[in-house]
Amino acid sequence: MTIRRVRIFSLFERFWHWTQMFLILVLMFSGFGLHGFHHLLDFKQAVTLHTLAAFLLLLLWAFSIFWLFTTRNWRHFIPTVKGMWQVLRFYSFGIFQGEHHPYRKAYWRKHNPLQALAYLMLKIVLFPLIWISGLAYLFYFLWRDIPHATQVLDGVALVHTGAAFTIVVFVMIHVYMLTTGHSFKEHVMPMISGFDDVDLSPEEEAYLLKDEPGVIR
């Protein structure tokens, strides 16, 4: 097994990540403005911005889901317990003892088990909660005449706001995690350059060197 610099984040994936980050920030800012937490935008601007950003994010997600399934990259997000305990132990104790992170990225496992689980939950629970409730919210006037519409709207608003708070918590932890390990910069760079240290098997190394020379340094 050899540690090599390998391009684990393709151009699309990096574009996806940073665009998503930007749109989520816009949505948070405009959304909490609509909720009444700040008045830095007027309501009409906030609605326009929030709706526009939401549609762009949905479009981006449509492409990303297509990409995940056509490139088989979805496999990175399959949850596993293998190595989970070590990772949890590291963040709870080892990190204070100067230990190294127990996880080594593999070519078809670029996330550690905790990351994989967190991102999967984000993708299949939190994001659907916010976009389904968001669309229901946006198109309220199409279903306002169904029975108990106002109670349903209360629920929709509750889910949407609750999911928003949870995403804020996720973002805070996500960003904090970047400061652990070597340095903030080293954690961010892979998502910019695409390259990170990956533990390759001799066969993977040989394959990449021969067939994908641009992906390995």
Binding site: H35, F43, F96, Q97, G98, R144, T150, L153, T166, Y176
Partner: protein
């Protein structure tokens, strides 16, 4: 240089037009030429010139003679006209079965027209209604002129003398030139309708709040449709008419018009905004108008587009207190000025004949769900005299498909009632006798007289009850740039603070969810901070 000089020229020309227009406004006397006709819907223009008709050149000495001349050509109009509420003053609500109309109702302004027709029926579109003997089947009693003459010289006086204390107000008026007014007839202009509708409740804008003499010649700011220099709509442009029956009724409001404009060219017998503007009135040029167009299923157009009522310098009455009425000086009634309205005119704040008034201008309406159905407290309705009573109550809710959020003027009045029976009363205000309140100032006598005249039960014990009446606001539509902003309602303590049954972002939030959310975010921050501090200060973990 060229485009620049072009701009300068345009600017100068613009200023010139503007100053000329302003100069016109300030002329001491109106220009000799007649102002252009207002837009009255499909009938605008007409097909005849009434100054050329022989029938109108004969000598007239009274209104009914003119009416006979009118009917000699307009042979069916009398029959049509007698069906409308301007003539009958009566309306049977098909849904509640209540018998309404000025002929029957008690309002919380001058209280009741019934029994006081000698005065109140000045605004009846007929001649001579002073008591129960009036003949509603005589076509020659119709007053065509009040609605159709366009000189502004025609006027009406009370149909009976009334107390000498009152009749002095109507002395020394210039005689009417009936030939002049008869030959001037045309489609009703705003001033015609305004004769009565601007002055309901006993004075300019007293009653409605959104109908005042300021609408006779309004600027665009006051009403974008009636704008005298712009669209110049007459009342009948919206209150479209078929055989002298008008669309638009306060007794039965169409709170939500889902039919919109109808098919191309289709005649609509409604006065709703939607009947011209359709059901997607906001042009979609960005994302926001989609949302605005969504709102029309919940929010009446008037709610956003009439940000305030009693605009244009004419105040409306908001409170009336009959409890103070009847004070005299040296045995005579008097009145006090005490309010100067926007256009500089003085308004009475006290009159011996009516009590104390409170005025307001540029008022923010009350907003409520409204299904268009008004329920009246009529003369025979029993109620609890210890609590405020709504003269006209209304229903409506988020769940009701006919309801939308509407703006209202709410009028508050302390007015006389029968405390023993718990009913409103007919007060005998106007008359030549010794019981009439106006002139004699004895409310016990005047109420007893008013009730007896119509064989109504009266306990003999009168007092005062607090009453409300609700007036849907629908006129004084502001230009679009002055419409409400989203945040006027979508905010804490915004305009729709009191409106129930709907979750509104910006106004509403779940307290518990917000608390949990804030605790979660703050807690996460503290955990991160703790984690980071332990990392920094633990000797071996310094690097990581």
């Amino acid at each position: 240089m060229r485009p620049f000089s072009g701009h300068v020229l345009a600017f100068l020309l613009g200023t010139l037009v503007l100053t000329t227009a302003q100069a016109t406004d300030q002329w001491p006397t109106p220009p000799a030429s007649k102002p252009p006709d207002q837009v009255s819907g499909p009938l605008t223009g007409g097909t005849g010139d009434h100054s050329k008709y022989e029938a109108l050149k004969q000598p007239f000495s009274s209104g009914p003679e003119v009416t006979k001349a009118c009917l000699s050509c307009h042979t069916e109009t009398g029959k049509h006209f007698m069906k409308n509420i301007h003539w009958t003053w009566e309306y049977r609500n098909p849904e509640t079965g209540q018998l309404l109309g000025k002929k029957h109702l008690v309002n919380n302004f001058c209280t009741n027209a019934r029994g006081n027709e000698g005065m109140c029926a000045q605004c009846h579109a007929g001649y001579g209604w002073k008591d129960e003997s009036f003949d509603f089947s005589d076509e020659t009693n119709i007053d065509c002129l009040v609605c159709h003459e366009t000189t502004g010289t025609y006027y009406k006086t009370p149909n009976s003398e009334g107390s000498p204390a009152c009749s002095v107000m109507f002395e020394d008026m210039a005689p009417i030139d009936y030939n002049l007014v008869a030959q001037s007839v045309g489609l009703p202009q705003r001033a015609n309708c305004g004769t009565c509708h601007f002055h309901g409740g006993g004075g300019d804008n007293v009653k409605h709040g959104d109908l005042s003499s300021a609408l006779t010649n309004p600027p665009r700011d006051l009403d974008v449709h009636m704008d005298a220099k712009g669209l110049n709509f007459a009342c009948t442009a919206c209150h479209i008419t078929k055989s002298h029956i008008w669309a638009g009724s306060r007794y039965h409001v169409i709170a939500k018009d889902e039919k919109g404009t109808g098919k191309p060219g289709e005649r609509r017998d409604v006065a709703t905004c939607e009947s011209c503007h359709g059901n997607e009135p906001h042009p979609v040029d960005s994302l926001a108008p989609f949302k605005l167009n969504d709102h029309i299923s919940s929010v009446a157009c008037q709610t956003c587009h009439i940000p305030e009522y009693a605009r244009g310098g004419v105040a409306t009455e908001t409170d009336w207190d009959w409890r103070t009425a009847g004070k005299t000086r040296n045995g005579e009634g008097y009145h006090e000025h005490g309010y100067t309205q926007g256009n500089g005119e003085e308004r009475y704040t006290y009159k011996s004949i009516k009590g104390t008034f409170t005025y307001g201008e540029n008022l923010v309406p009350l907003y409520r769900w409204f299904d268009g159905q008004m329920n009246y407290t009529t003369i025979d309705t029993k109620f609890d005299v210890t609590k405020p009573v709504a003269i006209n109550d209304f229903t409506g809710s988020r769940e009701d498909p006919r309801s939308r959020i509407w703006p209202f003027k709410r009028m508050t009045t302390w007015m006389p009632a029968d405390m023993g029976n718990g009913t409103l009363v007919y007060n005998h205000l106007w008359g030549q006798d010794e019981d009439s309140y106006w002139g004699n100032y004895d409310m016990g006598k005047s109420i007893a007289h008013g009730m007896k005249a119509f064989n109504l039960p009266y306990s003999g014990e009168y007092g005062f009850v607090k009453t409300y009446s609700y007036w849907p606001i629908t006129h004084m539509v502001a230009p679009k740039e002055q419409a409400l902003d989203c945040a006027d309602c979508h905010s804490k303590n915004g305009r729709l603070q009191g409106v129930e049954g709907v979750y509104m972002p910006g106004r509403d939030n779940n307290r518990w969810l917000d608390l949990i959310g804030i605790i979660a975010v703050a807690g996460t921050f503290l955990v991160i901070l703790g984690h980071a501090l332990v990392r920094i200060f633990s000797p071996k973990g310094a690097k990581h």
